[in-house]
């Protein structure tokens, strides 16, 4: 197998640079491309078609034109509400989760006896995922007689709010759960920090740079592609947040935690309106796409690539080139 592959890869040499790049590029992305076309692109467009249909899954879809979209924007109160809740959720929880993940990753990026233990401890909540156990657990922490209130009382703040079912605080419980499970971006930061060559730090310390300066001049710029990746991924994940809200509050109280994806799910499977759900999904995709585009557009100002993915399009400057020399 190895032989065959290296032959194919080697064969590229006789060709022009462009042709070789095409051949090699498609050779490496080939396996993905096939599956992607079949199992993602086709269902992808199927959902677009369904979004123009009245489809209850139990009988054949009927074409209804823009009906679903019109209904969403004109009649559906919860649609707007859930969208606003989701935006609030994303704009509060994602920055916090990322900053948190970065801080912890920095702390845990040391060689010390305790570090492996702490890593496990900080990562454990993320392993738990969205299981039923988490929902029970979280509801008990933030219940009226829960651990959180016990703690507040202990430090002298008397409090008897039932956080999980208070109409103003319920969303915060979900935000907090989302932040609590910051393990994934943390690990990616950690891997990113490992990739920064020690030589840079050595050079900086010879130059007499302090910790703060080193962080802003070396760590942050070198970590910026990773930060960018985390931001994009977390944003996508944040807009699609679903299980946390479903298992803990199921959208309540008073629909104040009815995040978009949860509402979509209820429409599609709870009320047998898959066509409507697909329309919601496409609107969501456009919204996420818009914000992702914004992040991508802004990236030239703050992301520094050694060799960036879109190299050759000549859009991004090699800002770090000078320092390396």
């Amino acid at each position: 197998m190895g032989n065959r592959s290296s032959n194919t890869a080697g064969n590229g040499r006789g060709l022009s640079k462009n042709a070789r790049n095409n051949l090699l590029g498609y050779f490496f992305i080939g396996p993905w491309l096939i599956m992607f076309l079949a199992f993602t692109v086709v269902p992808f467009f199927a959902s677009l078609v369904l979004s123009f249909c009245d489809y209850n899954m139990l009988s054949a879809p009927t074409f209804v034109g823009w009906d679903n979209y019109v209904k969403l924007f004109t009649e559906d109160r919860l649609f707007t509400k859930s969208l606003l809740i989701t935006l609030k959720f994303v704009f509060i929880s994602i920055p916090l989760r990322l900053i948190f993940a970065l801080i912890v990753a920095m702390i845990l990026n040391r060689d010390s006896k305790m570090v492996p233990i702490y890593r496990v401890v900080y990562y454990l909540p993320s392993i738990l995922g969205g299981s039923v156990a988490v929902s029970v657990l979280w509801r008990y922490v933030f219940a009226k007689e829960g651990v959180f209130n016990q703690f507040l009382n202990l430090i002298g703040i008397p409090c008897n709010i039932s956080w999980i079912s208070n109409k103003d605080t319920a969303l915060w419980c979900i935000i907090l759960l989302f932040i609590w499970q910051f393990g994934s971006p943390m690990l990616i930061f950690l891997a990113g920090l490992k990739q920064i060559p020690k030589t840079y730090y050595e050079a900086a310390s010879i130059d007499g740079a302090g910790k703060v300066v080193t962080f802003f001049r070396i760590t942050l710029p070198l970590l910026s592609p990773i930060f960018f990746f985390n931001l994009v991924m977390q944003m996508i994940g944040g807009f699609m947040v679903f299980s946390q809200a479903m298992i803990i509050t199921d959208g309540g109280p008073l629909n104040n935690t009815m995040v978009y994806a949860l509402y979509l799910y209820k429409q599609a499977f709870g009320y047998y309106k898959m066509g409507y759900g697909c329309a919601m999904a496409w609107i969501l995709m456009i919204i996420i796409g818009f914000f992702t585009l914004l992040v991508f557009k802004s990236s030239s100002a703050w992301v520094f690539y050694e060799n960036q993915i879109s190299e050759g399009n000549g859009k991004k400057k090699r800002k770090r080139g000078g320092k390396k020399a």
Binding site: M57, A60, P253, L254, K266, Y271
Partner: protein, 460 residues
């Protein structure tokens, strides 16, 4: 199914294109396919070892949702049937939250299990769209014996004239009360045959004033049960029989009566007589609720929950029929099917499946295992047997007695909820909670529910 074929064809085309494209092949492909084949073989071995069946050849697929107890008892009952009747079963049990998601998807692929457990809210969709078959034929030919059930009791099983499923058992609504707290407050157990919601509130107030013990808000998480009992006390059903409207929508007396009751609820919450809605919505398990911990005097609940709450409390809760609206004319009580057994249209041998359903609803040995888990059986023999059976707890026996009592007041079983009703019921729930939280008043709630239901319910 035309669209399905189009999607399938489109996919087949795309897939053929995909396969040609991958003709050149890549190194990972071969490796991974090999790995998958190995794992598949491994998977097959585990299946075979565990269930004793290797494939779909002849096994009857039975699907239900439930907890560990139901899974075990159902499997035990069906295994016993399989041993005697030379059939094999494949069990597809699931959690409530994901059950219907799976069924909907399987229905798209014409791959529904043979026998399905159905809920009152979902059965209509499956029946109307031809995904579950009309069982009348199997009742007529004797495969399903309803002689001990009676045609009246099955009134709730018909969807547009078709026998969509057979009720596994019924339940009803009740005001559960803690007799100790009644005694402590020195109040008498009220006569529940003709009492009104105001009388219920006064009783709660009296108990609260004497003992400081509150009463729970009526059905805060399922407003529908509360409203239905009030509406029915005016002699009308919550949904019209064709499922397209609220038959009482234009009767201002009904909506005003319900709105008044809701405003009373809010007043009692403010006074501390009813438990704070925030507290109630914060409960996760039976063990949290005030009624199960002796911290509340009364609680609206479904009859099939009483046993469980009594068990946690360590003492049997009393059961009262629901009060009617103040100017209501009749009892608002009703019974519901707890769930149904249905046969899917994908079933290859409906006759055999019908016999299995017959066994599940009529066989005494099966009933001894399943007990009241799927509601109180409609089969009179089984009811009598359970009333005497030692393995039935005293609270379950009390429930049985209570259901018998309710049955003497109301006739027949409620029909399944109409199509689209789930969404309307959710609107009602949200609006009612808004009243409890003081965000709206009873009139707002009813106005909104009536107008929303009008746009949600009608069928195209």
């Amino acid at each position: 199914m035309k669209a399905q074929r189009i999607i399938a064809a489109a996919m087949a085309g795309a897939m053929a294109a995909g396969l040609t494209a991958c003709g050149s092949g890549s190194s990972t492909q071969t490796t991974t396919t090999g790995a998958a084949a190995t794992t598949k073989a491994a998977a097959n071995t585990t299946t075979a070892a565990a269930s004793g069946t290797t494939g779909d050849n002849g096994a009857i697929r039975v699907a239900w949702w439930g907890s560990q107890g139901r899974n075990n008892s159902t499997i035990e009952a069906l295994d016993a049937y399989a041993a005697k009747n030379n059939v094999t079963f494949s069990y597809e049990y699931n959690s409530w939250s994901s059950y219907f998601e799976t069924l909907a998807t399987q229905s798209v692929g014409n791959d529904l299990p043979d026998i399905l457990q159905m809920s009152t809210t979902d059965i209509i969709n499956y029946s109307k769209n031809g995904q579950v078959i009309d069982l009348q034929k199997y009742v007529d030919d004797g495969a399903i014996d309803i002689s001990k059930i009676g045609k009246d009791a099955l009134s709730g099983d018909y969807v547009n004239g078709a026998l969509a499923g057979i009720t596994t058992g019924v339940n009803t609504v009740t005001v559960a009360y803690n007799p100790d707290i009644f005694e402590q407050a020195g109040v008498a157990v009220p006569d529940d045959t003709n009492w009104t919601f105001s009388e219920f509130c006064s009783l709660a107030e009296e108990i609260y004033n004497k003992t400081g013990i509150p009463t729970e808000i009526p059905f805060i998480t399922e407003a529908r049960w509360f409203v239905e009992s009030l509406v029915r006390s005016y002699g009308v059903d919550l949904f019209s029989s064709d499922g397209n409207s609220l038959p009482w929508a234009d009767d201002s007396k009904v909506s005003a009566g319900v709105a008044k009751a809701m405003d009373q609820v809010y007043k009692e919450i403010q006074a501390g007589v009813f438990v704070d809605p925030e507290v109630m919505l914060g409960w996760s398990a039976t063990e949290d609720s005030y009624i199960a911990t002796g911290k509340s005097a009364m609680s609206y609940m479904l009859s099939n929950y009483v046993g469980q709450y009594s068990k946690v409390l360590g003492k049997d809760l009393g059961m009262l029929m629901l009060p009617k609206a103040d100017d209501g004319t009749t009892s608002g009580m009703y019974t519901n099917s707890n769930m149904y057994w249905c046969i899917s249209s994908n079933c290859k041998d409906p006759e055999a499946a019908a016999k299995v359903i017959n066994y599940l609803i009529n066989d005494e040995d099966a009933a001894k295992l399943i007990l009241t888990d799927r509601g109180i059986s409609l089969n009179s023999d089984i009811r009598d047997m359970l009333a005497k059976d030692d393995s039935v707890s005293s609270s379950d026996k009390a429930t049985l007695e209570y259901v018998n009592k309710v049955n003497s007041v109301v006739k027949g079983v409620n029909p399944p909820d109409p199509a689209n009703s789930a969404e309307a019921i959710k609107v009602l729930k949200d609006d009612y909670q808004a009243v409890c939280y003081g965000e709206a008043n009873g009139t707002d709630c009813m106005d909104d529910f009536i107008s929303q239901a009008a746009s949600i319910l009608p069928q195209k």
